[in-house]
Amino acid sequence: MAFQTLLFYLFGAVLLTAAVATVTLRNMVHAALSLILSFFTAAMLWMLLEAEFLSILLVLVYIGAVLVLFLFVVMMVERHTPTIHHRRNYRLVALAVAAVMAAELGAALVAPDFVPASAPSPAPLGHSNTQALGSVLYTDYALAFEAAAVALLVAIVGAIALTLRARPDHHRQNPAHQSRVRKQDRLRLTDGRSEPPC
């Protein structure tokens, strides 16, 4: 159990450092890479909480797809963007807001009314988190699951529709035009003698 506590503090320190680096680094590629590091350590923490499926999902799907997409956009945009200089420095405001928010959350957690649940015993050997999650996801939350799928579909269509750009020299087929073509439009019969090109 002490080993898990050690891991918690190790991953927690890396997570908070990477999060601070994400919001303070000037270089956007470095910021995106620190964001990836913070997601990775968060996945390790979720593994400590025995949420194996979501932990693997965060690494495979979220880091592998979403954050790499983020990195692509950062590299595409940053090359042409001069550094944005802030007219006012909001660092003091940010520190104040963050301190107040952290103090409130901490005060709620250490209040005597808050009685945290005791640590559950570890899951038995052979217990499948994926199976357990699937058994509630496809029964109790089936409607929410379908709604999430629809939301993803809408996001796909929206993102493609937003960024689709037709080039002026783009060749595309027009089926209505193709099916309206008559023989006279394409075929010209000559009598074999040379005639001036029309």
């Binding site: 940010a94 957690l109 937003l162």
Partner: protein, 101 residues
Amino acid sequence: MLSLTHFMLLSGALFAIGVAGVFVNRRHALVLLMSLELILLAVNTNFIAASHYLQDLAGQAFALFVLTIAAAEIAIGLAIVVVVFRSRETIDAEDLSEVRG
């Protein structure tokens, strides 16, 4: 011995860092999106910690839905950033004030 309070304090600190990031980088659209990602990560960690300590899988199911919506949000957000960048050659969020009332 790890308790629920450990994880909740950690995710509270992560949430505060994300909120501070929104203030520090309020002109930079991409870093704003990164700060939103940090905030959503803190919320998800909270959900999963509560799910583990209360032995209730509803928290993990909800975290999965939050991940789904976060992915959709980031796809749309990045598409908007790309469109704005193509037409304006900048992603400075304070320059986007044409529709101000």
